[in-house]
């Protein structure tokens, strides 16, 4: 982890991810707040078949992000064993919870029908018990749950940005379990200071380590095979949409998850790309609420977990809602996680006009992709 923070090749993500973008042994983090929640739902869709659960952490400030609610809704509808841990530390960067979060935090989760547990990080035995119960519930019922966990951040949000009342911070520092556990316990106090020293001294070792060489740093997964040869183009029978439909049927048969709005039978999608497929592969064709960011995130999570997710955006114009998933997630996972992750998700969308749908359903936005 220290190697990673210092941008060294030995870091968990080869020094490319840095503190905000980590990926190792089932742990994944990303910079945009809330963006990994639907990705967690997608991973959870896959782990449903096992005893595992997905645990997704979110700060109370991130309850202001729309994608948070898309994920809660999708997770509940898809019956995913996902434990949403909302860490309420009373602040979002610099802004107090009272100025950021209207109404009740637990009610935000209850609104989606999630069993919602309350805990805090000062009463440790009860915290352990609550978390245990929450995980057991998610696992046993294959459904999401929430834990609203009250806590406090003892250091600055980032480097030195702290405008909180010093007395308030001192109060929580004094009452922090690490402080009172070691107070009056010489053995533990000694052990903690040894750990501090070990960490400090490791920085010197890490600083002298090499960074990733430039030619291992660049490079992506994209195809660049060139050829000067030409062959006769492949013809086809039937209409274009029937060819798309046949391809999606093959993919459903091969275990892909096809996810989009109104794609299940009998409707079969606004342009009928999945018509007839849902009947034969009901588990593979997942019709969702209107949640472009959420459904693309779910498909991405499913793909990160080793399966194939294929997302349909009903009208290409609405890919704008999924831009964050594409720009800050899917297009970066492979590289920023040190090439340890692969996210072979496919996102299909019809662009262009001429069908009388007007200004917001007729654009060609591929220039932004």
């Amino acid at each position: 982890m220290i190697d990673e923070l210092l941008g060294k090749a030995d870091g968990v993500c080869k020094g490319i991810g840095s503190s905000q973008h980590l990926y190792r042994q089932g742990f994944i983090s990303n910079g945009p707040q809330g963006a990994l929640l639907p990705v967690g739902t997608g991973i959870g869709r896959m782990v449903r078949e096992t005893e595992n659960v997905v645990v997704s952490f979110v700060g109370e400030g991130t309850l202001g992000e729309g994608v948070t609610y898309e994920a809660l809704n999708l997770s509940a509808l898809l019956k995913v064993p996902q434990v949403f841990v909302c860490e309420n530390n009373f602040y979002s960067q610099s802004t107090a919870q009272t100025r950021n979060t209207a109404g009740s935090i637990p009610d935000r989760f209850r609104a989606f029908g999630l069993k919602t547990f309350l805990a805090n990080t000062w009463d440790l035995p009860s915290l352990m018990q609550t978390v245990g119960e929450a995980i057991a519930h998610a696992r046993g019922n294959s459904e999401p749950v929430a834990i609203v966990m009250t806590t406090y951040r003892l250091n600055a949000h980032s480097k030195g940005d702290d405008d909180r009342d010093a007395e308030e911070v001192a109060f929580f520092r004094q009452n922090d379990p690490i402080s009172w556990i070691s107070e009056g316990n010489n053995h533990l106090a000694q052990r903690f200071s040894e750990i501090d020293e070990e960490v400090e001294s490791y920085f010197d070792t890490a600083l002298s380590k090499p960074e990733l060489p430039l030619d291992s740093y660049v490079g992506d997964q994209m195809p660049r095979r060139t050829s000067a040869r030409y062959t006769p183009a492949a013809g086809f029978e039937g209409r274009v949409i029937e060819r798309v439909n046949a391809f999606l049927r093959e993919e459903a048969e091969r275990g892909a998850m096809i996810i989009g709005e109104d794609i299940a039978d009998p409707y079969g999608g606004a342009f009928k790309a999945t018509k007839g497929n849902g009947q034969d592969f009901p588990d593979a064709i997942v019709s969702t609420p209107i949640s472009e960011a959420g459904l693309v995130g779910v498909a991405a999570g499913y793909s990160l977990a080793g399966r194939r997710g294929i997302a349909e955006i009903m009208f290409g114009d609405f890919v704008t809602y999924a831009f964050d998933q594409i720009v800050n997630g899917i297009s970066k996972y492979h590289h920023m996680y040190g090439k340890q992750a692969s996210c072979p998700v496919t996102i299909r969308m019809p662009m262009g006009g001429k069908r009388g749908y007007g200004a917001t359903h007729s654009q060609s936005l591929e220039k932004f992709l």
Binding site: Q221, P223, V240, I326, S331, I347, S364
Partner: protein
């Protein structure tokens, strides 16, 4: 991301299969009016070939005569231009090669460039708007290869 545009001049399922088999994050640009189309009617004067590279472009070229200029495009406009080929020739009195890009990103123009440099003029045609568009990207990359000797213009329909 790999960005691929389907067209109705060759089998869309083959493009989808090739994309999927690459196992990389990809975006497929489809088209609402192309959805209803069947394969194009055969035009005896034209030949439709596909470059053998991964997700290679289509090259529609006159069978019997030498073309004077190139039109480069992707997606639905490729079909519209193909269907109107004879009409355009009658109006302009000039034959042209039609190149239909399939892989839009990463944009790879080494093959098309070799081909288009043989002509004096290149027209990039796309749906939507021309500024900052795919056509502008194509022409700027081609200019990088050809210098400024080739006349080029980008139009949107």
């Amino acid at each position: 991301m790999l960005v691929v545009a389907l067209n109705s001049l060759s089998d869309p399922a083959a493009v989808l299969r090739e994309t999927q088999d690459l196992s990389v994050p990809s975006i497929i640009i489809e088209n609402k009016t192309d959805y209803g189309r069947r394969a194009p009617a055969v035009n005896e004067r034209l030949e439709i070939r596909q470059n053998a590279r991964t997700l290679g472009h289509l090259l529609i070229t006159p069978r019997y005569d030498k073309p004077h200029f190139s039109i480069v495009t992707y997606g639905e406009p490729a079909r519209l231009i193909y269907d109107a080929y004879d009409e355009i020739v009658a109006e302009t009195n000039a034959l042209f090669d039609l190149l239909c890009m399939v892989k839009l990103s990463p944009m790879d123009l080494s093959g098309p460039a070799r081909h288009m440099m043989k002509h004096e003029a290149i027209l990039a045609v796309e749906d939507g708007s021309a500024p900052f568009g795919i056509g502008a990207e194509i022409l700027s990359q081609l200019r990088g290869r050809a210098g400024s000797t080739v006349v080029s213009q980008c139009v949107a329909m």
